[in-house]
Amino acid sequence: MLSVSLQHSRPGFALDVAFDAPPGITVLFGRSGSGKTTVVNAVAGLLRPAQGRISLNGRDLCDTDQGLWLPPNRRRIGYVFQEGRLFPHLTVRQNLLFGNWFAPKAAPRADLDQIVEMLGIGHLLKRRPGGLSGGEKQRIAIGRALLSAPEMILADEPLAALDEARKAEILPYFERLRDESGIPILYVSHSASEVARLATTVVVLQDGKTTRQGPAAEILSDPKVMPTGVRSVGAVLETRLKAHHPDGLSELDAGGLSLFLPRVAQAPGQMVRVRISAHEVILSRGKPEGLSALNILPGQVDQIHSGEGPGAMVSLRTPAGRILVRITQRSAQALGLEEGSDCYAVIKSVAIAPGDISKISGS
């Protein structure tokens, strides 16, 4: 558990944040220049805040009232910097193992080979950072932080320089870290799907202030707070994996209803979290027939929220849980939707992105 409360001001910019990061991944979410890196630097000990207190697992890292200040090297924090910061004079391998030299002998160690393989950097080990591509550098920076046996990980947009395929390979590793290591991770991102997939907790930053914080599911389903816009709104369902079918689909049990998704990489019986983007759900008054969509969930309209644009956000109570649906106001009228109306949510299997499905920790 990391607990942060900070005030710091710079000409034209004032930071005033307070949040807790429980085990799992806490995503710092906010626009460019909102102060994300500043917060992360303060946690790492690279910025000495004017006022504030930071504690990690009960250990005070900084407390300006008491004049307490732990230098960065004694914080045991693995920091993946926004700009890599590889050591130019060391080989990739030496870069990766740098933190290892200084980790207490007793600390649990990530395995070099495993991380090298995950990051796909085996062929680079003997090179120096000078001639690496942007994505290669960033992967090494991730590996270096992971290998330093940290008590907490700070990751400042670690995947921004990577292509989707590579991201898809690395995301599960962050998930595993989140679910298995129990060490808190503070993760800066502006990708809604990364947030949806990884975040246990979301802290929203705007102009240096925390405007909203809480469990990911809650924040992500609130269109008002999502700084990156309405398209990142979605509901999160907690389901249990029932079976894998021979045609490549997996069947999930969502409150007694079946949900079919392209093969989910978990074992049957496991709890799986599925994020359903509001803009990808279709509503129907009658039970639709002859559609290609495999998942049709019955429900009742809970609430209709019309925004400023042409859209409306419909919140639906279903046996599987609350589902958010974004439709046009015109459709809402045409369908005669009002609170309490019965209707069906139509969800395509393939519309659910692999990045929106994730194992639930501890299950």
């Binding site: 790492a44 000990g45 690279l46 230098p71 960065p72 090297n73 004694r74 914080r75 045991r76 924090i77 693995g78 920091y79 910097f81 700009e83 910061r85 050591f87 130019p88 004079h89 060391l90 740098f98 933190g99 030299w101 200084f102 980790a103 090179r127 120096r128 000078g130 001639g131 270096r144 932080a145 330093s148």
Partner: protein, 230 residues
């Protein structure tokens, strides 16, 4: 060889020894001083900075005279050292001290420039990975300033090879003991017709320094290649 007498060869050997040790022993102090000047804030920093530059400003003879007053057997520091069995005045060690002190500002400047060019962000990164300050210095800063350390060494060494005024004032000119190449050259220049002999010694001096220069360029290039797009 025929064309140089035994005493001249002794002078060559002695100059090499003096320059080598002067550079080697001064280097850690130069690195420390450069680091302090580049990175620390402390009271009297500018005074200290001035002190470091003093041997550059003062006429060498004055420096030598001050050394004699301080480190001579009658001087405050020299007397102390003598009780510890360390004698500098009139010894080759004294010549090394004089050479080191004369070269010190050159070394410090070169190293300091390199330190100032090191990106503190890399040092911060090392700190987050658990390296304490001395370790950050040893594993990140030092390798990155290697070109500066090498440049400082060659400046110090070259200066030591050429140092005359402070050396002869502090340790005199005892053949085989404290007669360095420049002292020998000076002696030859004092007499009409001594030019040829002086020229021979100067040539040797140049050859040695050139060798050291080439070596330093080679080392610096290797260090830079390691840091650059290796």
């Amino acid at each position: 060889m025929e064309w140089l007498g035994a005493e001249e060869w002794q002078a060559v050997a002695l100059s090499l020894r003096v320059s080598f040790w002067a550079t080697l022993v001064a280097m850690p102090f130069a690195v420390l001083t450069a680091f302090a000047l580049a990175r620390w804030e402390f009271a009297g920093k500018q005074l200290f900075n001035g002190l470091v530059h003093l041997p550059l400003i003062l006429p060498p003879v004055v420096t030598g005279y001050l050394l004699l007053l301080t480190f001579g057997t009658q001087g405050p520091v020299g007397g102390l050292l003598q009780e510890l069995g360390i004698v500098l005045a009139f010894r080759w060690t004294g010549a090394a001290l004089a050479a080191a002190i004369m070269g010190f500002p050159l070394m410090v400047r070169a190293i300091r420039l390199s330190i100032e060019a090191v990106d503190p962000k890399l040092e911060q990164a090392a700190a987050t990975l658990g390296a304490s300050r001395p370790w950050v210095f040893a594993t990140v800063t030092l390798p990155l300033i290697l070109p500066g350390v090498i440049a400082g060494s060659i400046l110090g060494f070259a200066k030591a090879m050429g140092e005359f005024g402070a050396t002869i004032t502090f340790v005199s000119n005892i053949p085989g003991q404290t007669q360095t190449l420049p002292s020998a050259v000076y002696a030859f220049l004092q007499t009409p017709g001594g030019e040829a002999a002086a020229a021979r010694l100067v040539m040797i001096s140049i050859a040695i320094a050139m060798g050291a220069l080439l070596l330093s360029e080679f080392l610096a290039r290797r260090a830079a290649r390691r840091i650059g797009d290796g």
